[in-house]
């Protein structure tokens, strides 16, 4: 365990893993290609196998098997953490998540707990192509019994940083299955510190209802009343933060940005509070449009606010394969300019 302060999302997640293994002897780490010096395809696990050689288990390419095995381990008192190398491979674990890990507690009438954390990086913009670039968490967001989390790149008050703290809490603090969504480009982001956020007002929700983990609200400091509520998580929250800056300085359109880290089970009460003032809501995600995260966010907000929601929009990836060619890939995925354009349409028309 290093004692330096984490600088990036990657550092923060890595330190969260180290801290969880240091604090709880029941934590085991399983995944493909996770041993040092490699430390996993995206290096989130670096140092773990050196520090805890008996508790880090390199596995064959058997995503379904290791997820099911983690379920069995958890039923017998352990707290396994599974790394799925690419988020695209989460389709291989769907049966284990949907029919096994999330079923055990309820179908055995509350007699067991299943503390398993499954971590995986989603997302494109690296030219990895159709089967290594997708954002697929929408396939899992409605699964009863599954907590879905996505870190925000903020340092926050904890020495592990926001992402690491979120992962740490998921591993040692929750007794039910967690799907922890990382993002390939988000790994490289520097954690936002107060200096970076000097221009912004930042508020963080506490825990209430289904919200165990923070939802962040950001807006430009001393700006006029917001006209639009934007919501996004993970790497898209980074792009959305850039977009609200541009919208303010170039177009005098003022927004509030809501960044949830606790995606499911859904509890959008902080969002309703913002939209009840702005009356306009734009949900931005890197997944595809139909039946996605944004669809649920909009539906729930419409149900909650009725006529209080006057404009609703979604910005998503195109519903095609994600090409390797960087120009084609960029056409597929929403970026800052797309958010700005869409936000202007929603406010001005």
């Amino acid at each position: 365990m290093t004692d330096r302060s984490p600088l990036t999302v990657l550092d923060s997640l890595n330190q969260g893993l180290h801290q969880a293994m240091a604090d709880n002897a029941q934590v085991m780490f399983l995944g493909e290609d996770i041993l040092d010096p490699y430390g996993g395809s995206f290096k989130v696990a670096r140092g773990l196998s050196s520090a805890y050689p008996d508790r880090v288990l390199p596995t064959p390419i058997s995503e379904a098997g290791i997820t099911g095995i983690a379920g069995g381990m958890a039923l017998r008192g352990m707290r396994p953490v599974v790394e799925i190398m690419f988020g695209d491979f989460s389709t291989l674990i769907a049966d284990q998540v949907i029919n096994h890990l999330t079923k055990f507690n309820a179908m055995y009438n509350g007699q067991v707990t299943v503390p398993v954390v499954i971590r995986t990086p989603m997302g494109g913009r690296r030219g990895y192509g159709p089967t290594h670039s997708q954002t697929l968490e929408k396939l899992f967001l409605g699964t009863p019994g599954l907590t879905v989390l996505a870190p925000f790149h903020i340092k926050g008050d904890h020495e592990l940083g926001g992402p690491g703290q979120l992962l740490y809490e998921a591993i040692v603090g929750l007794d039910s299955p967690v799907f922890f969504i990382e993002n390939k480009l988000q790994y490289l982001l520097k954690l936002l510190i107060p200096y970076d956020l000097e221009e912004y007002d930042l508020a963080e929700t506490g825990t209430s209802g289904n919200i165990r983990f923070p939802c962040y609200k950001l807006s430009l400091r001393s700006a006029p009343a917001a006209q639009l509520t934007l919501t996004a998580y993970g790497y898209m929250a980074h792009l959305a933060l850039g977009a609200i800056h541009n919208l303010a300085y170039e177009y005098e359109i003022f927004c509030e940005l809501l960044v949830p880290t606790h995606l499911a089970p859904f509890d959008l009460s902080p969002l309703y509070e913002s939209v009840s003032k702005t009356k306009r809501l734009l949900a931005v995600e890197e997944g595809t449009l139909s039946l996605g995260w944004g669809a649920e966010v909009l539906a729930r907000t419409a149900e909650a606010l009725g006529a209080g929601l006057t404009r609703a929009g979604r910005l998503t990836a195109r519903g095609t394969v994600i090409p390797v060619a960087l120009d084609l890939e960029a056409d597929c995925l929403p970026d800052v300019a797309d958010i700005v354009t869409r936000a202007r349409e929603m406010v001005q028309k």
Partner: protein
């Protein structure tokens, strides 16, 4: 009671539980469906004779026999199948999803093998010498996760005994339409030592299982036991497409209760039958009348 009588009593308990269950199903007291262990009773009784206090048992959709051989309470199982709060899992799990002490069953075929493999890993890491018994069927061999888990169970030398109850029929599909190659070689390919038995005699199963359990426990490594075991009943209910004559022949040649019953004097056997009949009838009626709302 001598050993043969005790084994007979266990076999007969499972048989009568399932018989009573099927008889009462038409009354509508049981929601959903069920899969009975008729004909396969000796596997559960023979193998689980070697259970140590903290061992773990994982079973599948056809789990009533395993549960009763594990020591589960027939009344609580009846209540579970009736969907009552007094059932093993409060009526939530039902026939296929049981958990009591270290017994677990589930209704997705290949997933039970993954569950058992993970449990065996946990038991190995706990280092208390407990092992995991995993009952699976030949139909389960069609699912890929089984091979992922056999690979890891061998790779990591896990204390896992896989008991493959090969009844040669998956619901209505005979195994010659579903299984290529050799069942035994599937285990051998992963360097998992395997024994094969073609018997419905509980003592023969018990003796072979004893040696395999000893090896799994002492050497902390996986073993497999393939038992050729005719299914004498339907897959669930009203779905046996086999010729009546063929099934009748299996009853004559391969009924584990008859085979073990021949070891006993008639009056001993009758006395056990009468006692178990009464106990199970009482358990059924208690489960039927037991009150208590959901918590």
């Amino acid at each position: 009671m001598d050993k043969n009588a005790r084994l007979y009593e266990q076999l007969y308990t499972i048989r009568q539980f399932e018989t009573l269950l099927l008889e009462q199903f038409s009354t509508g007291i049981f929601p959903g469906t069920t899969h009975t262990s008729l004909g396969q009773e000796a596997n559960a009784v023979g193998v689980l004779a070697h259970l140590a206090a903290n061992d773990v048992v994982v079973s599948n959709h056809r789990c009533h026999g395993h549960f009763l051989a594990y020591g589960g309470d027939p009344q609580a199982l009846f209540a579970e199948l009736m969907g009552k709060p007094a059932g093993i899992c409060g009526g939530v799990g039902g026939s296929q999803h049981l958990h009591w002490r270290n017994f677990y069953s589930s209704g997705i075929q290949g997933g039970t093998v993954a569950m058992a493999t993970g449990m065996a890993l946990a038991e190995k890491l706990a280092g208390q010498g407990s092992i995991v018994f995993d009952f699976m069927g030949d139909g389960t061999l069609g699912e890929g996760i089984v091979y992922e888990c056999l690979n890891m169970a061998s790779l990591w030398q896990l204390p896992l005994l896989i008991v493959l109850e090969n009844n040669h029929i998956a619901q209505t599909t005979p195994s010659h339409l579903a299984i290529a190659g050799s069942v035994v070689k599937r285990f051998e390919a992963f360097d998992i030592p395997v024994m094969q038995l073609d018997t419905s005699n509980v003592t023969e199963i018990l003796l072979v299982a004893k040696e395999l359990v000893r090896q799994v426990r002492n050497e902390c490594s996986p073993r497999a036991l393939v038992i050729e075991t005719p299914r004498l009943g339907h897959h669930s209910k009203g779905d046996d497409t086999r010729a009546d004559m063929d099934v009748e022949l299996l009853w004559q040649l391969r009924d584990p209760i008859s085979i073990q019953g021949e070891m006993l004097e008639d009056q001993v056997r009758y006395a056990i039958n009468r006692r178990i009949d009464n106990e199970l009838q009482a358990a059924f009626e208690m489960a039927l009348t037991i009150e208590g709302g959901r918590v």
